[in-house]
Amino acid sequence: MSIADVTNQFRTCPTTGLHVHLPAQRLIWINAVSAVVFLLVGGVMAILIALTRWPAVHLLPQDLFYRFITAHGINMLVFWIVFFEMAGIIFAAQTILGSRYPGIKFGWFNYILMISGAIMVEVVVFMGKADVMFTAYPPLKANPVFYLGIILFAVGALFNCFQFIYALIIAKREGWHKGSLPLFTYGILTAVIIAIFTLVSGAAAFIPAFLWSIGVIPHIDPEYYRIAFWGFGHSAQQINLAAMVAIWYMLANLTTGAQPVNQRMCRWAFVLYLLGINLGSIHHNLVDPGLSATYRIFNTSYLFYAATIGSMIHAFSIPAAVETAQRAKGFTRGLFQWLTNAPWGQPGFSGLVLSMVIFGFFGGVTGIILSVEQLNMLSHNNLRVPGHFHMTVVGGTSLAFMALTYYVIPLVLQRKLIGAKWAKYQPYIFAIGVMMFSTGMHFAGVMGAPRRHWDVTFQNAVIQVPFDPAMYTFLGLVGVGAVVAFTGLLIFIGIAVLSVFFGEKIPSKMEPHSPPHEVLPAAAIAKGTV
């Protein structure tokens, strides 16, 4: 396809002036819509699980409880977040750079790989052939289709990552974009680089597990699997982290016009993520047999907390950018007028602030404590761990993704929001619910409640365990908080689905767009044939 054919496939966004490549827009649409569908599945599982852990309700029977926890983990941590990130990386490479998106058919092929993998996993989990939890630790053995589905999904995601990097190269070579990458795309590139080594580590865990499940290899070492799995499982959360921070910068800009004060600092922080973050994975293995204390300590410190320093920088530079922008608008009275006069009614801004506070403060602090080698003994596998990661992944990442969706729908998907009034309150409702159930989980865990456990009252056990009665109060808080958070989730899904399918179409002019910069010599030769 020649560049001349591509130029007619662009429209210009009437609000932002961004050049959107229509075939890429369709890819963004399908990935984002799939993400929200899986969010709904995972959300229904979430409320059912939470109502079971609330001892006064104890809703589900034993088998469904474990089945739904498996489904909840995979739907939320993998399908919802990764599909949303796939939409995000296409947006970052195409729309932000105003480039064409190369290999549209390849993008659809990747999507089909991912969706068929996801459906295989859903079917096999709900049929009860894979009650092995998200982690699937051997010797727990699932149906081979389960492993195969995850591998297909991961391969699709990996191909999308390579395509993203290729798209950046094309943008430079063909002259669509010149100079440094915009900060948002830079952050997404960080996420993509982390994603590549994460998915390779995932392959090291899931491919042997698949071969073992079909009987090709007789035995998997359980500790090998745990280390390889967490090289995937935890680093996957760092993909979310880098993507979420990039989204924070974008939300700050969209809602208050904030510009990073010093991009050198922000970019260094992303580099620190790259250097230090994959060393975090061993904090899942701190009380496992077979690892030396030196290895545990060095590894779990994220390279002497280098990645934590990266997060500290963002925690400084995003509020600083917002404050500078607000002061420039004339909100200069006292220390905090810039904050009191911030657009709190815009879901993008409230979502940004709540996501930063829940992720950075509550999630970050609890996470750092859990990953201290000696303290981990007091928290390993009890409910304190899900208490931590629901603050980071739900209150942080998911909330930031939701807040962004309210802008993606009109700007990229060209639909007016239905229920914009509800969107104003949605981040608050969701954040309050998340904080309630995460706090409940945290303190119930401190009192000894195990995670992934159907019945902490031990009615079937041969020996009764007397827990602190306060634990049951905190488990009750988990149930109540989950109801509030689920309400917030339903409002979000309602707005997103109604707007995408029934929202008023926002007209946008088709405008030819061709590379505004000169073509690099190497590409000049290939021009017309690439």
């Binding site: 630790y137 440094s180 009380v287 496992d288 047999p289 401190v446 041969v462």
Partner: protein, 191 residues
């Protein structure tokens, strides 16, 4: 602007940024140093581990139970609930006289260990099937038990009473009656 191409983003850090960076780096170092210091205060998780396999460990543990299980006045072996099919009650030998073996198997910790206050014990733990969690309550002390790994912890109980072991690593279920959530063991510390 985060969404557009920056012209010149390579600016020197200003004073506030530098102060914040120094604070962050210093804080990172303080947090790191806390962990190596644990070596000196003997706070680390045990790293003594041996290779084993379920058959071998099961046999060793059974021999251990046969040898040390408590007998009543008539010479009948004692179990945790007094019934013959209960979990065997074992008077654990302290470090000087022998090693202790604890088996995790779906859905039981075997045996129930009886220890003496202020004596030191070497406890070998392994699983005969799935991965299990060693969660000592109400201390809330948690360790991982894996099959094929013999994990040795050294422990000196310093208070008397009944303590509970719950499994906190998911290990399947069967029907409504049995499963991961009914896997409970016990440790008794006497004077």
């Amino acid at each position: 602007m985060p969404l557009s191409t920056p012209k010149n983003w390579w600016q020197p850090f200003n004073k506030e940024e530098r102060i914040w960076l120094y604070i962050s780096i210093l804080w990172g170092i303080i947090m790191f140093v806390m962990m190596p210091l644990g070596h000196f205060w003997n706070q680390n998780v045990s790293s003594e581990t041996y290779k084993t396999n379920p058959e071998e460990f099961g046999q060793i543990a059974q021999k251990f139970i046969d040898r040390y299980q408590r007998k009543d006045a008539k010479g009948v072996p004692v179990t945790h609930n007094g019934k013959p099919q209960g979990i065997p009650l074992v008077d654990a030998p302290s470090k000087e006289t022998g090693d202790v073996f604890l088996v995790a198997q779906a859905w039981q910790f075997r045996p129930v260990l009886v220890m003496k206050k202020n004596k030191t014990y070497r406890i070998h733990m392994s699983s005969l099937d799935y991965q299990h969690g060693f969660s000592l309550q109400p201390q809330n002390l948690n360790l991982q038990i894996l099959p094929y790994y013999d994990f040795v912890i050294t422990m000196s109980p310093n208070e008397t009473g009944k303590f509970f072991l719950i499994c906190n690593e998911y290990c399947m279920f069967a029907g409504e009656k049995f499963g991961h959530d009914s896997m409970v063991g016990q440790v008794i510390v006497e004077d």
